[in-house]
C-alpha cells in the first residue's frame, strides 16, 4: 500500500517514482541487502511517508501577495544576517522565460536561494513569475510548506518544462544535493557532478541560460563530507533519491548528520548574475552538450574565482 502511494505521489509531482513498483530489482536494492527485512520495510515506509509529504507541484500555488508580505522578513534576514549582495540582475532579460543556473551552497537551509529570491522579487516585482526547483526532501521537511507559495516546486524535468513554457523565470541548481553538501574547503568550486539536463531543457524550451554564481553559503556551517558511501550503504539513493548523507559541524547540533535543518552562521553571501547565453546563437543549431557544459562551467568558475578573491575572511567575507 505504501509502495502504491509512493508511486502515485511521485507521478503526481511530475517525476518518476524513486522505487518503481514494477522494478523488482530496484525494490530489492531498496531493501538494503535484498532480503525483505524489517529494516527494508521500515525504509520503504519512510520513503512512502516522505513522498506523501511532498506537495503537489502546482505552479498556481505561487502566491505573489504572500511573497510581497514576506519580503520584509526575508529582506531583514538577507540584509542583516547574511549581508547579502546581489550583482548584475540587469543581465536577466526583463521579460520572457529564462533558465537561471546556479551553483548551490549552504546545505539544506539554502541561504543563497533565499538571498537571490529576495533580490529577484524586489528587482522585477512579485508580479513576474519566478520558480525554483528544489530537492523533494527540502519540500517535505516539516514547516517548509511556505516554500511552495514562493514558487518552489519539486525538481523534475516536467516541472521545469511547465514553468518555462508558462513564460516564467526558473532557477535550477544542477549540482543539487551533490554540490550543496560539498566540503567547506571546496567553497569556491562549481561542481555540477556532470549533470547536463539543464542544457537539454534550455534547448528544448529555446530559452537563454543565465548563470548565477554565489559564494558564502558553504561558510554557514563547517561541511565535512557528503557521505556518499554512507548514503549508498543505507540505500538512500534508491529510496529517497539522495546520493549523499552529509556530515557537518553546525548549530545547534554540533555534529549534524543528514542536515535536516540547522542554524546557518551569518556568513556574507555574494551573488553575481552573468550575461545571458543564447545556446543556438553561440553554439549553432545543434549544440554539443559537452561543449556547452564546459563553457557554462568555465564562465561560472571564473566568476566564482573572482568572488573568492574578494573575500578576506571566512564568514565575515
Amino acid at each position: 500500500m505504501a509502495q502504491a502511494d509512493t508511486t502515485r505521489s511521485a507521478r503526481r509531482n511530475g517525476h518518476e517514482p524513486s522505487v518503481p513498483a514494477d522494478d523488482p530489482e530496484a525494490a530489492n536494492s531498496a531493501n538494503a541487502g535484498g532480503s525483505p527485512s524489517l529494516a527494508g520495510r521500515a525504509w520503504r515506509e519512510l520513503a512512502g511517508v516522505i513522498q506523501r509529504r511532498i506537495p503537489r507541484a502546482d505552479l498556481d500555488e505561487r502566491d505573489p501577495d504572500y511573497i510581497r508580505e514576506q519580503l520584509p522578513l526575508f529582506w531583514l534576514l538577507s540584509s542583516v544576517w547574511f549581508r547579502g549582495e546581489v550583482r548584475g540582475l540587469g543581465n536577466i532579460p526583463d521579460e520572457g522565460p529564462v533558465l537561471l543556473v546556479g551553483n548551490h551552497s549552504g546545505g539544506n537551509m539554502i541561504p543563497d536561494t533565499m538571498v537571490f529570491t529576495v533580490a529577484f522579487s524586489t528587482y522585477f516585482g512579485v508580479e513576474r513569475a519566478f520558480y525554483q526547483l528544489a530537492h523533494n526532501l527540502v519540500l517535505s521537511l516539516p514547516g517548509l510548506s511556505w516554500l511552495r507559495k514562493f514558487g518552489t516546486v519539486a525538481a523534475s524535468p516536467d516541472n521545469a518544462r511547465k514553468a518555462l513554457s508558462s513564460g516564467a523565470a526558473l532557477l535550477v541548481y544542477p549540482g543539487g544535493d551533490y554540490e550543496v553538501h560539498r566540503p567547506s574547503w571546496e567553497s569556491s568550486r562549481v561542481d555540477f557532478g556532470g549533470r547536463k539536463g539543464f542544457i537539454r531543457m534550455a534547448l528544448e524550451q529555446e530559452v537563454p541560460i543565465v548563470p548565477v554564481v554565489a559564494i558564502g553559503g558553504q561558510e554557514t556551517a563547517l561541511f565535512l563530507t557528503r557521505g556518499e558511501r554512507l548514503a549508498r550503504l543505507l540505500a538512500l539513493d534508491r529510496v529517497l533519491r539522495l546520493k549523499v548523507l552529509p556530515i557537518s559541524l553546525s548549530l545547534p547540533w554540533i555534529v549534524n548528520v543528514g542536515d535536516f535543518g540547522h542554524i546557518p552562521l551569518p556568513a556574507k553571501i555574494t551573488i553575481e548574475t552573468l550575461p545571458p547565453i543564447d545556446l543556438r546563437a553561440e553554439f549553432g543549431p545543434d549544440p554539443d552538450l559537452d561543449e556547452v557544459y564546459d563553457h557554462v562551467l568555465r564562465l561560472m568558475q571564473d566568476a566564482l574565482d573572482a568572488l573568492a578573491a574578494e573575500r578576506r575572511f571566512p564568514v565575515i567575507g
Binding site: R68, E69, Q70, S79, F82, R83, V86, A119, G125
Partner: protein
Amino acid sequence: MRISSDVAVAAPMETVWSIVTDPGRVLSYMSGVTRWEVASDLETGLGARYRMLFRVGAAEVGGLIEVVEFAEPYEFAWTSITGLDQRGRWRLRELPGGRTRVELRLAYGIAGAGLSGWLAERLAAPNVSRHVRQTLQQLGRIVEHEQLRSRAAQRRAGARGA
C-alpha cells in the same frame, strides 16, 4: 515610514524644476537610485510612469510609479503602482535673493507585512535618510554649477557683443 529633508539652493525655482522633472537626469543626482526608466508614452508630466529601483540593504526595491501631482514649478509628487508602497514629493519654494528651498519627501512601507515590515522600515530608515540628504546635496551642486555656467555664458556673449 516618512523621511524628508530640505536644502537651500542658489538658483531660481524654474531651474531646479527643470532638473527634478527630467527623467533622463535622475540618476545623476538621486543617491541610491539604480534605475529610473520611462514606462509610459508621456516622458514627464501628470500621469507619466517610471520604473525605478533604489538599493537598500541586500536588495534593489521600488517598482512602477506614477506622477500624481505636477504643479509647475512648485510640486512634483508620485505614488507607487507596483512594488514597494511609496510616495515621493519634490516641494519647491521661493526664497529671497533668487534662491529656492528644495524639499524631498519619501514615505515607504509594505502594507500587510506586520512586525517584520515595521522593523524593516525602521532598519532601512538611516540608509534612506542618508540617501535623501545626499540627493539634495548633489542636486544643489548640479543646479548651482549650471547656474554658474549659464551666467558665465551670458557674460561671454555680452563681452563678444560689446
